[in-house]
């Protein structure tokens, strides 16, 4: 956290090295979160790139969001929701139904590369309703507490806990053999 604060200070002073450090520190985490949430590598790449572009444009506002990691996660959630709404509006394949399109061996011009396990989890996560998927991802992958997730989802904490419980049950059923062994 302290290191992040130092990064923010440097970032707010126009320090490109700080921008690179932030980028290297968080890009993989954000890509993984995005893949779990969208189930689509290209949309994940777009969403994460947009988040960093947003950071580059609004570097002076990061301090208002408590900490850098939460700022980036909140930006990512918002961006993915926007992409989902756009997808529905243009009647494109909705993100919920999108299959994982990343091959085990990705082309060299593709930014993100996911291993087999990642692809499999992403496909399973795509089976969950959006709200449950968000809660499970934010809890498991981002390590956020329920109050923080409730703030992001703009929902009561009880509702968020219910979504988590239902999400886990469904995941358990879908991953039955691996979880039980």
């Amino acid at each position: 956290m302290l290191q992040d604060k130092r990064l923010i200070w440097r970032l707010q002073r126009g320090n490109v090295d700080a921008l690179r450090l932030v980028y290297d520190k968080y890009k993989l985490d954000l890509l993984k979160l995005a893949m779990l949430l969208t189930g689509d590598v290209h949309r994940s790449e777009d969403a994460v790139q947009d988040v960093f572009l947003k950071l580059a444009e609004s570097f002076d506002r990061v301090g208002d969001h408590g900490n850098l990691r939460n700022f980036l996660i909140t930006c990512l959630m918002n961006r993915i929701r926007t992409l989902r709404r756009d997808g529905q509006r243009h009647q494109m394949a909705p993100l919920d139904d999108a299959a994982m399109q990343t091959a085990p061996v990705s082309p060299p011009d593709q930014w993100a590369v996911a291993n087999e396990q990642m692809q499999r989890i992403s496909r399973v996560m795509a089976e969950l309703p959006v709200e449950q998927r968000e809660v499970v991802t934010l809890r498991f992958e981002a390590g956020l507490g329920f109050p923080e997730i409730a703030r992001i989802q703009n929902a009561p904490v009880n509702t968020v806990q219910g979504r988590y419980r239902y999400g886990l049950e469904k995941l358990r059923a879908l991953l039955n053999s691996e979880v039980e062994t």
């Binding site: 707010q12 890509l31 790139q49 572009l53 060299p108 930014w111 291993n115």
Partner: protein
């Protein structure tokens, strides 16, 4: 291991990596956006790093200590390096100026009784000379179509005279001043609205901040700003919960004021939005002054000349006498505490059918010209004394209040005028003009019973 832990392990086994070439390309795009944003925001203002730092209590303390140390050991260096402007230095420079000219605008916005926006605006040109005195030309501009005015005021301390020339009513009023009035006039009556030394002192006494470098009227300046309520012109009087915004811009080269703006806004006594704006600009420093102009301001042809005698002692006794005179003439007290030379006593008299007013009106019928004007001036003298008494109380911050708008001579137990003697005592003049000294608690009780 629980199923939740097993599931977490499965999540952990999912790994994402990036290819180097597209990774660099993505970062280059982000970097370009960042550099552009940094450039744009630096042009607008300093980055918000300071705000982030100051969120930490520890950092606040550290910065406070650093500032104190810097103030203690580095003020002299700071003043002389040219890296910033100290308002105290500006004030010292202003006080060295022998004569200057400036323009001023006073603008009041409020609602008329009919609920329509009402604007009152006065433009002035002021000439201040340490040797000769003050001269101000006022033009009242009324966009609402009501009466406008055009007048000049000369204040000559060496001769102890105040001359007021009303060009609309063609009146020339010469007032001879008591010795004790002269410094008061210098400090409060004229200096308050035209002397940059006065408003600089007000800002320096408040919490203020630099607003940085800019250009005003083609001059490179450094700006300063305060929103401290103590810096309000007239203390934001007449406003409920006044909001203050005071700015001054200082010439980076000469270190003298270029422009001053004061805006007080809030709710007036009727609960309507109101504001009071005061602007001083177009300063010309160390201008040449024609001494002859102040020796004897010419009386324009066809103007009525009026001479007012010295006001005499101004104290509780003369103030009470002044209130008694008001009650005799008008059968009530004036809505505001007394009036200045621009208010038409004759107009007030015409509204009254009290015996004293009828006698004075009869007397005036037999007079003409200068005799008539001087008789009117004599009759108005008590009201001038009352105004001066009240202004003294205000200037001395004695917390005065006047309730002539609602209290009549019949209200024997109601507060008409009060002021503070000490933290433990207030002096009160009641509606029947008897006076008492009361505690603040007693005063609060008395004021609770006042009509709204």
């Amino acid at each position: 291991m629980s199923s939740a832990d097993k599931m977490r392990r499965l999540f952990d086994e999912g790994v994402v990596q990036t290819n180097a070439a597209p990774d660099d390309a993505v970062f280059e795009k982000i970097k370009t956006t960042y550099m552009r944003a940094v450039q744009h925001k630096s042009a607008q203002q300093e980055p918000g790093m300071w705000r982030s730092i100051m969120k930490s209590p520890l950092a606040k303390l550290a910065v406070a200590v650093a500032v104190l140390i810097a103030c203690a050991i580095g003020l002299f260096l700071w003043r002389t390096t040219g890296s910033g402007i100290a308002l105290a230095d500006v004030l010292a420079r202003v006080e060295q100026v022998r004569a200057f000219q400036c323009k001023g605008i006073i603008k009041r916005t409020s609602e008329s009784p009919a609920g329509k926006p009402h604007v009152w605006e006065v433009h002035s040109i002021n000439l201040e000379s340490k040797e000769c005195g003050s001269k101000a030309t006022h033009k009242e501009i009324d966009p609402n179509g009501a009466r406008t005015s055009f007048a000049e005021t000369y204040f000559v301390p060496t001769k102890k005279i105040l001359i007021y020339i009303n060009h609309i009513e063609k009146r020339y009023i010469r007032t001879e001043l008591d010795d004790w009035v002269v410094p008061l006039m210098q400090k409060e009556f004229l200096g308050r609205y035209s002397n940059p030394g006065t408003f600089l002192k007000e800002i320096v006494a408040c919490k203020y901040e630099s607003t940085g470098r800019s250009t005003v009227d083609g001059i490179d300046v450094e700006g300063f700003r305060t929103t401290d309520p103590n810096c309000a012109r007239d203390g934001g009087s007449g406003f409920t919960d006044p909001q203050i915004d005071v700015k001054v811009w200082i010439d980076a080269k000469t270190r003298l004021p270029v422009r001053y703006e004061s805006l007080t806004s809030g709710l007036d006594e009727k609960g309507a939005d109101a504001s009071h704006q005061f602007v001083v600009y177009d300063f010309q420093w160390d201008v040449a002054v024609d001494v002859a102009e102040f020796e004897s301001p010419a009386i324009p042809d066809g103007y009525t000349v009026q001479v007012e005698k010295p006001w005499g002692a101004i104290d509780e006794q003369t103030a009470t006498e002044s209130l008694r005179k008001c009650a005799e003439l008008f059968g009530k007290y004036l809505e505001s505490p007394g009036f200045g030379p621009s208010v038409d006593l004759e107009g007030e008299l015409n509204k009254s059918n009290n015996p004293a007013a009828i006698r004075l009106k009869e007397e005036l019928k037999g007079l003409a010209g200068l005799e008539r004007a001087n008789r009117l001036a004599d009759a108005a003298l008590p009201m001038r004394r009352l105004l001066l008494f009240y202004m003294n109380l205000t200037n001395e911050k004695k917390d005065p209040a006047y309730y002539g708008k609602t209290i009549t001579p019949k209200d024997a137990d109601k507060v008409l005028l009060r002021w503070k003697l000490s933290d433990m005592e207030y002096r009160v003049i009641f509606g029947d003009l008897h006076a008492e000294t009361v505690s603040p608690e007693k005063l609060a009780e008395l004021e609770k019973t006042l009509p709204k």
